[in-house]
């Protein structure tokens, strides 16, 4: 099972086992990880499940779609080169993500 490491804004880390194919967002929400709001439920419409991917050489990740790209321009915290919407990150390998200061 792939492991997802969530680094919270205060530096605390939470590590969760993810069902292969589920998203970083869904895994966080179903385990009550704070800091991922995911208001729209995973439709890439609200930009409130923003994360920074900290895994180096994260080649296994799906590419950023046009819709995700536009949404990333609307995040409440600054967009960086490693910004992603966690609802669009369906994991098959271990991944580490850092949560932004705020989602709304």
């Amino acid at each position: 099972m792939p492991k997802i490491t969530y680094i919270l804004p205060d530096g605390l880390e939470t590590v969760l086992d993810a069902e292969p194919g589920t998203s970083v967002m869904r895994t966080a929400v179903s385990h009550g990880v704070p800091g991922i709001v995911a208001e729209c439920g995973g439709n890439a419409m609200c930009a409130t499940c923003h994360v920074y991917v900290e895994t180096e050489a994260a080649e296994g990740l799906p590419a950023v779609s046009d819709v995700e790209d536009e949404m990333l321009d609307c995040t409440a915290s600054e967009r960086c080169a490693n910004s992603r919407l966690s609802c669009q990150l369906h994991v098959s390998e271990d991944i580490t993500v850092r949560l932004p200061e705020t989602q709304v």
Binding site: V29, V37, A38, E39, C40, G41, G42, N43, M45, C46, A47, D66, V67, E70, M71, D73, C74
Partner: protein, 402 residues
């Protein structure tokens, strides 16, 4: 009773989900449908139904098998001509749908919506404070739930002040016609017919105010290569789906809060719960109760074979109270995490206006929390029966100003 679908037996239900009795109070029947199995057969209309959160989500997610281009109502466009030209968004599949959706999602971004918040909040505060200052009972539907969206939404689109009242019968007609040709369907067509001409006029390129969302949609659609007929059709989607739904969302929230005074107390103590309170309303008392899909190929769902050309009725509101998904699903709790409900659908057809609806709901309920000290029912709420929507015709309330 069961019938042999093929591999597995499917429970047959005789109930009529479009009868007055059902539409008035669907919750017991929802329970019956969820317990009948993951998929069931509705004998009266000869179609499949799903009412559990898991299966409803699966049907919503698999848009290649369960298509929208054959209509999202009971009628199969492959067999029957629709009463109006199909929507480019609601009644379309990828890749056509993808292109049309992008035109709109590109314009109505969270950033644009954030820019609206201050203005919406001011107007909500003004309206609620004015209504709360009046004496005697008020109608929560006409005075509040209809008044607020009918003010901010058409302004946002760029519609004229005159004729806005047409938006309600038009929306009601569109949602009624997803159901069978019963009395609600016929009456809605009659009332909606008068509104339709006004709506079509407003949808024409050049008609909406140049600085509103309507003109932006027309311009973006033109740029994407849509002709004037299709530009009008894209705007029509907003006018069809953007008003009645939000009106019912706010009306239902008022009812829920009036009937659960401790919940209104939590909201009063902490007005930042307004957005969560609206979300919980959409779960608990979903404005959009149902949508159909059509199988475009033989499918299998929860081990049950569904042949090509079958209509599948998704009971979104039943999924939103599925005990397999929610703790105490039948209690209205604004402090719960209601995200994950399917009240706005899910997947490629997820409601495009959902973030705008949330914004309107949040601003309205924030205003309620700030300006109203006490919220009480002053009579029996009257349900407005619609083949798709759940909302009120009237809601007698007594408001005490804060």
């Amino acid at each position: 009773m069961t019938i042999q679908s093929t591999a597995q037996e499917v429970t047959v239900l005789e109930l009529d989900p479009f009868s007055d009795e059902f539409l008035n109070d669907p919750y017991e029947a929802h329970e019956q449908m969820r317990e009948a199995g993951p998929v069931f057969w509705l004998e009266r209309y000869q179609l499949y139904g799903v009412a559990r959160h898991d299966e409803v989500s699966q049907v919503l997610a698999d848009h290649e098998t369960y298509v929208s281009s054959r209509g999202v109502g009971i009628s199969d466009f492959a067999k029957e001509k629709p009463w109006r030209p199909p929507s480019l968004l609601l009644e379309a599949d990828p890749p056509h749908h993808t292109k049309a959706r992008h035109v709109v999602s590109h314009i109505m971004t969270p950033k644009v919506l954030r820019g609206l918040k201050e203005g919406f909040q001011e107007r909500a505060d003004e309206l609620v404070a004015r209504v709360a200052a009046g004496k005697g009972t008020v109608d929560g539907v006409a005075d509040l739930a209809e008044a607020f969206p009918l003010e901010v939404f058409p302004d946002f689109i760029g519609l004229p002040k005159d004729g806005r009242e047409n938006l309600l019968p038009y929306g009601s007609m569109v949602f009624n016609t997803f159901g069978p040709r019963n009395s609600h369907f016929e009456r809605a067509m009659e009332r909606g017919a008068k509104a339709q001409a006004w709506i079509m006029e407003q949808c024409q390129p050049g008609a909406p105010a140049p600085d509103g969302l309507g003109a932006k949609i027309h311009a973006a659609a033109a740029e994407a290569g849509y002709d004037e007929v299709d530009q009008a059709k894209l705007l029509r989607s907003f006018l069809s789906a953007g008003v009645d739904t939000t009106v019912h969302g706010i009306g239902n929230a008022l009812q829920c809060l009036a009937e659960n005074p401790e919940q209104f107390g939590y909201l009063r103590e902490d007005p930042s719960l307004a957005r969560a309170a609206f979300e919980e309303t959409v779960r608990y008392s979903s404005p959009v109760q149902t949508f159909f899909r059509t199988t475009n190929k033989d499918a299998e769902l929860a081990g049950i074979r569904i042949p090509e050309g079958s209509k599948v009725l998704m009971f979104l509101a039943a999924a939103n109270r599925d005990p397999r998904q929610w703790e105490n699903p039948a209690s209205f709790d604004i402090r719960r995490k209601a995200a994950g409900h399917v009240g706005f659908g899910f997947g490629v057809h997820a409601c495009l206006g959902q973030m705008l609806a949330r914004l309107e709901g949040e601003c309205f309920l924030t205003a309620l929390a700030r300006n109203v000290g006490k919220l009480e029912l002053a009579g029996e709420p009257v349900q407005q029966l619609n083949n798709t929507l759940r909302g009120l015709d009237s809601l007698p309330l007594r408001l005490t100003a804060a």
